[in-house]
């Protein structure tokens, strides 16, 4: 009988595992539909990680199973295993391979994140600026205009979050406010206020996110994007929707008993139907003019239907 050499078997196994892992990476269909420009970036990255993880998992588990079968204890054998304490070459090998993998993943993730619009040179300047300003010497001279600089600081556009503005400024800005347990969307240009987010497809959108009470988190799974809404710290999220449709907006930061029901929708319109929506809702502008003056209950009631909560529940949770 012809003996198949071990090295050949290993090679075949290696190729099979690689091919299978790559296939799994492309066909796992674990993720929901892609509806933003960033989504394919994230998904491609995830697929690669799934492929690598599958390969590593199969190699480790496969090796274990082979060893378990091959080196199982047989009845009547009272001896111990072979006296080996280690192998420098092997240890270097299995330190080096993961190191290379994680370094590549690290570099790739920085690249993906930059493409998603998560890092901009402006960000780092601003941080440097902030640090400078807090330098005590300057702070002392600024102390008279303290009130002023606070004001300007608040007006500055938020720098935390994925802005999505690598090369182009946003065409549509929406102010998003999270509160227990609803999202309010305010269109500064047209003055519309709504309980749902409406955006035109293919347009760069920028959300300025704030929270009034506790931390919330704005997530659209189909966009693969998420950003916390933090009281006292303005944040931002930029995206371009690529597919018309209606997608859920989910609050993902625990914000109280009804955290689970803090949901809304983002409606991605074709450009024309977005115009129509704008026109149809232009009358809505003064519905919520001064959110601060109203109790959350009063603000929320008009949206109760959209939120899927009835007015009684709203009253109950805000007593």
């Amino acid at each position: 009988m012809l003996q198949i050499p071990v090295s050949l078997l290993t090679l075949v196994a290696g190729i099979t595992v690689t091919l299978f892992s790559i296939w799994v990476g492309q066909h796992h269909s674990l993720l929901p539909v892609q509806a933003s420009e960033q989504a394919p970036l994230v998904d491609n990255f995830f697929n690669i990680m799934v492929a690598i993880a599958t390969a590593l998992f199969l190699v480790v588990e496969g090796t274990i199973i082979i060893f378990l079968v091959k080196f199982r204890h047989r009845r009547g054998d009272d001896t111990d295993g072979v006296p080996i304490e280690g192998s420098f070459a092997l240890e270097v090998f299995w330190t080096a391979i993961p190191t290379i993998i994680v370094i590549c993943l690290g570099i790739y993730s920085v690249d993906v994140y930059t493409q998603m619009g998560g890092i901009k040179p402006r960000n780092s300047e601003q941080i440097a600026g902030n640090l400078n300003k807090s330098g005590t010497a300057i702070a002392a001279t600024l102390s008279d205009e303290g009130g002023d600089s606070l004001q300007t600081k608040a007006l500055k556009s938020p720098t935390i979050g994925i802005t999505g503005e690598n090369n182009k400024k946003a065409d549509l800005v929406v102010d998003v406010t999270g509160m227990q347990f609803a999202w309010i969307f305010n269109y500064p240009e047209s003055g519309i206020t709504s309980g749902e987010l409406h955006v035109p497809v293919g347009t760069k959108v920028k959300l300025n996110i704030a929270a009034t009470d506790v931390i919330h988190s704005f997530w659209v799974p189909q966009f693969r994007l998420k950003q916390d809404a933090i009281p006292g710290i303005p944040t931002t999220l930029g995206f371009t929707a690529t597919k018309t449709g209606t997608y859920p907006i989910v609050c993902t930061e625990l914000c109280g008993g009804y955290h689970g029901s803090m949901r809304s929708q983002v409606v991605v319109h074709s450009p024309e139907s977005f115009e129509n929506w704008l026109l149809a809702n232009a009358t809505n502008t003064d519905k919520v003019t001064n959110t601060i003056a109203l109790s959350p209950e009063e603000i929320l009631t008009p949206y109760a239907r959209e939120l899927g909560v009835n007015a009684d529940t709203l009253a109950a949770i805000h007593q």
Partner: protein
């Protein structure tokens, strides 16, 4: 220290002051014997595991349907918060570090007790009041409801009384773990028998040493954060109140500076258990002793600089998200070194499929899966999608249940004969293993998909599209619940009537097996003398066996 002193009131070695053998009621007292304390830790921790597990079952029952019908959403949040808190602070940490650490470290290094026995007992007795505080938080305030992370401002506005009690409880267990940690550091460093060289120190002790250093460096920062939170809650300060000039993100930094290392506190001792169990039951020397020992230290150092990976969608600027992405990924390397070391240990062994070994092997598969999902979340671009979803819940149950709990079970099956002098029943052990293995996969595997598809965590009501997968999880949770029953019966029955084990039933080489089972009160009549390393299986040239009993130490007089 320049001055040492020969007579000290703290010394445990004091013949005649204790009975020959502890009676059952001694286990309910302020006892300073490290073995009694170890058992106290293990047993109380296991009771908390049952309580925390019942909370989990209640949660899973609620999640069987999309509507909040079984428990009220606020109660759900209280259950969720206390499930996490109990499992982490009153089950894994006390059993892995307090239980196994206290029982085994002095035995493994050849000491009669810990360096500070009284302090050790104090550290244990800080735990019951902490538990009482948690219980009180339910009675007086409906239980704290802001997650085990207790992020302000939510933690400042919901159930303030319960939150205050929760903070005090955590500060107590934190103090306990600091006191325990300093005790381990001094014990391992100074009480190792002189004949034991550093490279003959069992890997479990290396792991406990790394864990203790980590606990010493990170726990006080959590205490600082919690003190600030306590003042905000009760004394009108505004550290974390945005309208008073405070900053809510600062709390997250303080919290995760501790709580990321805390996850390594929960896995490093388990890695130590693995390094003891695998060689013994594979009859093979550990592969790469030095690499495994130093990788604990590497994990401990790198683990201090990765905390922002829990805050990738919070108030952190882009550069920070990138820096911590890279540091997080690096942790995979030393962890991989350990995993590969254990796998290589199997090569060329004579593997016995005892219950202890089954759980150790189960751990290998579960933990690798959980670790790999951890690496995917370590990258900011992807974490932005899955943060605070069931994907995270899946990850940490795979590492915490599939890792820590499996490891604790492996340790119990392995050392039960030493602790009680009797074997656990192997048949029941196998049933326990199979149920646990299937239950874990059924409960936590579908959660990956749930998270990726859009189900957030910490919700009592969810989108009906997720119902099918959630029901699988719920069924799995019941299987897990059932899995505890054979174990429980096994322990109770075997403790009293199990097969007698003898001093060294596994024919193992580390020092704890050189004394009687259960060990005498001061561990040895005559302290053992170390003549070879703890893993030299098969090194006896004549007959291919390990040198048998009496080889690791001089026979006792």
């Amino acid at each position: 220290m320049t001055q040492t002193q020969l007579q000290s009131p703290e010394l445990p070695v004091n013949h005649g002051a204790h009975p020959e053998k502890w009676k059952w009621y001694h286990y309910f007292t302020f006892n300073i014997d490290h073995k009694v304390i170890g058992i106290q830790y293990l047993v109380t921790a296991f009771i908390f595991y049952l309580i925390g597990g019942l909370m989990a079952v209640a949660m899973r029952a609620e999640l069987a349907t999309p509507d909040p019908d079984v428990v009220d959403p606020n109660l759900y949040n209280a259950l969720m918060t206390n499930h996490g808190t109990i499992m982490i602070f009153l089950w894994i940490v006390p059993s892995a570090i307090g239980g196994f650490g206290n029982y085994l470290v002095p035995l493994m290094v050849g000491a009669r007790d810990m360096a500070f026995p009284k302090l050790n007992a104090i550290a244990f007795w800080l735990n019951p009041p902490a538990a009482a505080l948690l219980a009180a938080s339910f009675y007086f305030g409906g239980g704290s409801q802001s997650g085990w992370t207790a992020y302000p401002p939510l933690s400042l506005v919901t159930a303030p009384t319960a939150q205050t009690l929760w903070i005090l409880a955590i500060v107590l267990v934190g103090t306990s773990s600091i006191l325990g940690a300093l005790n381990f550091v001094v014990t391992i460093w100074k009480l190792k028998v002189p004949s034991m060289k550093w490279d003959q120190l069992p890997l479990f002790c290396w792991a406990i040493l790394a864990t203790s250093v980590l606990a010493l460096l990170s726990t006080p920062v959590l205490a600082a954060g919690l003190v600030l939170l306590l003042f905000d809650l009760n004394f009108g300060t505004s550290f974390f109140k945005p309208d008073g000039g405070g900053n809510v993100v600062l709390y997250q930094h303080l919290f995760w500076f501790y709580s990321h290392p805390a996850v390594y506190l929960m896995i490093l001792p388990i890695f130590g258990i693995m390094s003891e169990v695998v060689p013994v039951h594979a009859r093979k020397s550990i592969f790469g002793y030095k690499a495994i020992a130093y990788s604990s230290v590497a994990i401990c150092v790198v683990g201090l600089f990765v905390w922002v990976h829990h805050m990738f969608t919070s108030g952190t600027p882009g550069w920070m998200r990138m820096f911590f992405t890279i540091s997080t990924l690096i942790v995979a390397v030393p962890t991989g070194v350990k995993i590969f070391g254990w796998v290589a240990t199997l090569w060329g062994g004579k593997i016995r499929f005892t219950s202890a070994m089954l759980f150790a092997l189960g751990l290998l598969s579960m933990f690798v899966l959980g670790g790999l999902s951890g690496v995917t979340m370590g990258t900011a671009p992807f974490d932005v999608h899955v943060h605070d979803t069931y994907y995270v819940v899946a990850h940490f149950h795979f590492v915490l249940f599939g890792g820590s709990v499996f490891g604790i079970y492996a340790g119990i099956y392995h050392w039960f004969p030493k602790i009680t002098g009797r074997f656990l029943n192997e048949t029941l052990g196998r049933i326990h293993f199979v149920l646990t293995f299937i239950g874990t996969l059924a409960t936590f595997l579908p959660m990956h998909e749930l998270g990726l598809q859009g189900m957030p965590r910490r919700v009592a009501m969810y989108d009906p599209q997720f119902m099918a997968l959630n029901q699988i999880c719920t069924i799995g949770a019941f299987v897990l619940g059932a899995s505890v029953i054979p174990f429980f019966i096994n322990v109770l029955w075997s403790w009293g009537f199990g097969r007698k084990a003898g001093d060294n039933p596994w024919n193992a080489l580390s020092l704890e097996w050189t004394t009687s089972s259960p060990p005498a009160i001061e561990n040895w009549e005559t302290l053992p003398v170390v003549t070879h390393g703890p893993y030299e299986y098969g090194f006896n040239e004549e007959d291919g066996t390990s040198v048998k009993s009496g080889t690791a130490a001089e026979p006792s007089a």
